[in-house]
Amino acid sequence: MRLPSVVALALLAAAPPLGAAVNVVATTEDLADLARQVGGDRVKVEAIARGYQDPHFVEAKPSFILKLAKADLLVAVGRELEVGWLPPLVQQSRNAKIQPGADGYLDASLTVKILEIPTGQITRAMGDVHPLGNPHYWLDPGNGRHIAKAIADRLARMAPADAVYFASRYADFDRRLAEAEKRWDALMAPYKGLKVVTYHRSWPNFVGRFGLDVIGYVEPRPGIPPSPRHTLDLIAEMKRQAVKILIVEPYFDLKTPNSIARETGARVLVLPPSVGGEKDITDFIALFDHDVDLLVRTIRETGAR
């Protein structure tokens, strides 16, 4: 009997005092919102990358070190999306709680299904290929559920007194998400198999979920800017397959996409891949509301189907 009570005491000592909010830092606004959804007013959440910024190329600003220094929990996208900037920030945070391997470090990718894990030999001749799979997995709304669950579980472990609160917040989010998913699935259902082109390989989870078919990319290889030769090939292919939709992330230049659109009659659609990508995208569900609405409206206008 003595040992369990010692453990309980240790847990109590480790947990923040009652009423103190858990400080959460998320690397992206998507993860930050999921943490807010399940954490409610028992957490204080900050994001590092903005939703309209390329998450591969965030600068390791010292001001982020200050945020991380006082964090109890760091939620990262993982799969080497943040490889260029997160490790030095975490190291300089001097915060033992959020070092990889510690309880306060949560790699959200470990709870979801990851697409495009390369098999066989990979080299940088393939561009900025992610050896651990495609890191844009939050773009399947179903994965948002798994991420939210993982965050809720971790929060419950860190603040056991609020475990019930986090569980009920998660249940509520789960219900709202399920309702929204029905809406999105119904809106997208008529367009299964619709052929689209995207700028970067950011959308495999999104198109997989809604049954779109990506026939090409504006980038010749991931992370490599468009080349004239590849652009011409892409134009020919888009004409051949009558592709009318060209999806571009908000942080890419529109010059090449616009000229492709002029040649092919396709419509350039700037689709934010993250919460905060537009002013009205204030949370995870609003992100898909925005993107699905915009996509469906554009498909109807272009008569792509």
């Binding site: 390791a60 490889v83 300089q92 709870t111 299904k113 990851i114 697409l115 894990i117 179903g142 997989g208």
Partner: protein, 424 residues
Amino acid sequence: MRHCLRSLTGLLLAVATMAVLPPRPGLAAQAAPGATPSADEEVALLRRELDALRREYGSRMAAIEEKLAAIEAARAAAPTAASAPAEPAPPAPAVAQAVPPATASKVFNPDIAAIGNFVGAAGESPGGGEPSLNMQEAELSFQAVVDPYARADFFVTLSPDEVALEEGYITFPTLPGGFLTKVGKMRDAFGKVNGQHPHTLPFLDRPLVSKNLTGGEDGLADAGISVARLIPNPWLFLEATGQVYQGNSEVFQAPTRGDLAYVGHLRAYHDIGESTNVDLGGSIAYGHNGMTEDTTTRLLGVDATLRWKPLRRSIYTHFLARGEVTWSRRGQPDAVDAVGGYGFLEYQFGRRWTAGVRYDNSERADAPGLRDTGGSFILTYRPSEFSLVRAQYRRTSFADTDSPANELLFQLLFAIGAHGAHPF
């Protein structure tokens, strides 16, 4: 797993049986026909049998491992093939996407990278300058986490004349009190440019002030201990660094064991909105210079950086303005005062293109009154994150020559291996 268990049990049984039972006469006769087997021969025989068993066991284990690896690979590949499940499948356990057993022995290898730095030069330079075509250096880096308390970084440079440990240190990031501690050989935390490796510099050469006052290419780099702490305050990022070194660098030479070199650095950083930030630093360094038993060199430096990078267009454009001034007082044994600095502007005007301009002005640490000045235009093209081509036009007026040096420099930088952090 069952196969595995069965063969393991088999092996254990066999060993146990051999240990307990007397040797079988038939086997002994085979080994030594017509002779009574001696104890030694029996031992040898048993050893052979055991070896045979071990080989068989090994090959069976290998077969099982192969099968396991194939299953793992298939499982990892499966989600790629599956398209648009109506209900998302339950999350795959993390283990399914872990490293297959075949490479398990390598997962603890450090991150390894190699960076080649090829430099070409043309034009007249009285000082000799860079060679016409030169593989200036290859840098090898090895970086990994040591244990839950520390990580280690090694940077080895191979240049035409030497192999050197550019840096090699252990970092303790989470010591109590917030002291970020490094121990090993390091580039001193003196100003901005001194801490940078050649491949992270925004120009091809080091500024004149580095060459004249702070040790040139090798710079201030020494073996020692560094401790850095954040100074909490509500307004800005403030970090104080204190370092103690052996006193064995281009500038500092300790005549005796007790004559350590000391470096102090204070860095202040503040965001002015999400696109713009300022970065200010002050540095001091003090140590014996080895001219005589008790001559010392004192260095004082200030640096200021203004950065602008709009987040929505962060991969296409940025602007950076930076200046550094260094004062040197070198006892030889009479004190020689010298001051130098540079100013640098850089603008990125395309995803792959960056242009820069630098002004140099520096006195010499050991020669009173001699002042060198120079200016450079720099153009950089980056085909990808892992390579760059750079051209630099440099005009330098040396204090001790009549005509200025006009030079055109070229650089090809290329990196392979682990993806390191982006410099900031």
